[in-house]
Amino acid sequence: MAQVFPPGANWLAKWSILFAILGVTLVVGVASAVYWSPVVTQVGVHKKQPVPFSHQRHVQGNGLDCRYCHTSVETSPFAGIPATETCMTCHSQVLAGQEMFNPVKESWDSGQPMEWTRVNDLPDFVYFNHSIHVNKGVGCSTCHGRVDEMRLTYKAETLHMGWCLRCHEAPEKFIRPKDQVFNMAWEPPSDQLEQGRKLVQEYNVEVGQLLNCSICHR
């Protein structure tokens, strides 16, 4: 009887094995590359805000402390977003007439708070508490990056759970003296591990507990 397939089909059959392997590798590779890229993680991506607020201007330029606006960061889970009144302490004079400042002005006039877009947004099943971190020597810049250099605010880290665990597994790698927590320019010293271990002891960071599921998921 006549052959069902032309001779070239043999070539196809053999190479199909390689194609299958390459195909699977490619799909998995591309999928994970996209998943870790800023497209999904949003690291370094500006969010649209009602007003183009610049941390750089306020922190580096004017020398404001983080806590001037984020007032509850040392005492509450939530760092706090400033009330319009806080803005108006300066902006009743500065920029007051400019068009880009209008949303703040409207908020001031109507008494309706500003609606900023969250940049660092954790899922609701994570119970994150700013105060415990700040009080145990975890600096702002460790998680938020050099906010003082951001013209428009963006996420500096992925906030993936695996990223949280790097510190929860070994806080000595990241912990700093409490008086340096709000220092945006702080860099770990060359003997960070040694210093870090001391601080972990001194601040009573119970490393054994930090990996309990219920520390963050209650």
């Binding site: 009887m1 069902v4 397939f5 089909a9 043999n10 059959a13 992925t158 759970m161 695996g162 665990l165």
Partner: protein, 463 residues
């Protein structure tokens, strides 16, 4: 001719093998014809239609129960505290156990040079793959959230988390996926020469292309056969430990936990024997009607049926030994918890299930000592149904009696499957039948070349 049966003269009369491995006056041609014609020429018999339609219906019911499950969550099942493991794990273990006979037949009996496996191995391997397909769905659906099913796999994820490598539930993932893929490979490898036969015999262009594609260019050259034999031996070698390891690991799901009634060393061997026992009963359940629908009684002969019945009997004895050992351990442990559990199992709320299990797995197979039950298809079919039910009850009794009454009397409770438990379970049986029906319709259900080897050994006929 007939060298094979004369060697068994020393057996007692009641246990002497019956019949031949191939009945009637056959040639290579007639053997190939009777198997390929099922796929290529013959009309679908009414029995097949029934299996296809009812199987298809229950597959749809299964689909509906899954949609409801994913929409509403596992609350539609009977699971509750303290019985958080319900029918899902019972059905999982039941299905995975059924698969084991296929692997035993295809791998261990191949290595042991048991020629009688040649007529039933393809069939039994298909049963294995479909049973594993049914079993494998339960670990996924029992979460009620299919979309997070990939969490059972270890992969580098954004959470920096790995599954618990010390948990037998993770070992299950590896055991089942290895088992499924090796079985599928072995099955497909054996099919290649037979797909080539179908390709060569098919008249219809579409069938030629379809079978030609899956035959991977098989031409039956000496080199092809040499490689085929080597690959099949290697895969048989890989499958052999799996027959023992997979169900041992499944038994660890229970034995590693320290619950009364689960924490027993007898579990792995007793589960493996139970798996083979259940599997042979299922092979018979399927083979008895299908060989009659398609007039294949000259290839799957009374001899095969008789041998399978004997294995069922032998493994039933091991399983019953397991039941006795469990009871003995409970008493010998001196642990009040273990003794109470065993007392509850035998005389408590679930005593009817336990005694039904004894009836199905101990009393019913005893009839297989009698030759009439091993050769009469109706009698044997009936006994196999007892075994199928019995092996499900066995897992039910293990799961439910231990969980309803564990260490803390304040948390004791009761458990019963709901309507949706039933629909999910019957749905997988329907799905299994549906796949089996497709298999016998589109794939040569008996390994043509291997039966021809048997024919050669029996008659010495040359091409």
């Amino acid at each position: 001719m007939n060298k094979m049966s004369t060697a068994h003269k020393s057996y007692p009369e009641a246990l002497r093998p019956v019949g031949e491995l191939i009945e009637g006056k056959q040639t290579y041609e007639s053997i190939t014809d009777s198997i390929t014609s099922v796929v290529l020429e013959r009309p679908n018999p009414p029995g097949w239609m029934l299996m296809f339609v009812i199987g298809g219906m229950f597959t749809c019911i299964y689909g509906m129960s899954l949609v409801y499950l994913f929409a509403a969550g596992t609350g539609i099942w009977g699971i509750t505290m303290p019985v958080a493991w319900g029918w899902a794990i019972i059905n999982f273990v039941w299905w995975i156990g059924i698969g084991h006979a296929g692997t035993l037949i295809s791998a261990i009996l191949l290595l042991l040079r048991q020629d009688w496996r040649n007529a039933i191995n393809r069939f039994a391997e298909a049963m294995t793959i479909f049973a594993v397909a049914c079993a494998g769905q339960f670990p996924l659906i029992h979460m009620g959230r299919l979309w997070v099913g990939f969490f059972i796999l270890p992969y580098p994820n954004t959470m920096g988390l790995w599954p618990q490598f010390r948990s037998p539930l993770l070992w299950d993932v590896f055991a089942i996926s290895t088992y499924g893929s090796v079985s599928l490979l072995f099955w497909y490898l054996g099919l290649i020469p037979d797909f080539a036969s179908l390709r060569d015999r098919a008249k219809n262009r579409f069938a030629q292309l379809a079978y030609g594609t899956v035959a991977l260019g098989w031409r039956g050259s000496a080199r092809h056969w040499f490689r085929y034999e080597m690959a099949s031996l290697l895969l048989a070698g890989l499958c052999t430990p799996l027959v023992v390891s997979v169900h041992s690991i499944v038994s660890f799901d229970f034995a590693v936990a320290n619950l009364p009634g689960w924490h027993a060393t007898i579990f792995p061997p007793y589960f493996v024997a139970g798996a083979i026992y259940a599997g042979f009963a299922m092979v018979l359940t399927l083979a008895l009607p299908i060989r009659s629908w398609y007039n294949l009684k000259h290839i799957i002969t009374a001899r095969h049926i008789d041998l399978m019945a004997k294995i069922t009997l032998a493994t039933s004895m091991i399983v019953v030994y397991g039941y006795a050992a469990e009871a003995f351990f409970a008493w010998y442990s001196g642990s009040e918890m273990e003794r109470t559990m065993m007392w509850n199992r035998i005389f408590g709320d679930y005593a009817p299930a336990y005694w039904a299990l004894i009836l199905c797995n101990f009393v019913a197979p005893q009839f297989l000592w009698i030759k009439w039950f091993r050769t009469n298809v109706y009698g044997l079919f009936l006994i196999c149904q007892f075994v199928n039910v019995g092996m499900w009850l066995e897992r039910y009794v293990i799961v439910v009696t231990s969980l309803t009454k564990d260490f803390l009397p304040s948390s004791w409770g009761t458990y019963h499957g709901t309507f949706w438990d039933w629909m999910t379970y019957l749905g997988t049986i329907g799905f299994f039948c549906f796949l089996m029906a497709l298999f016998v319709r589109f794939v040569p259900m008996i390994a043509i070349h291997e039966v021809r080897v048997t024919h050669h050994k029996m008659t010495g006929e040359h091409h």
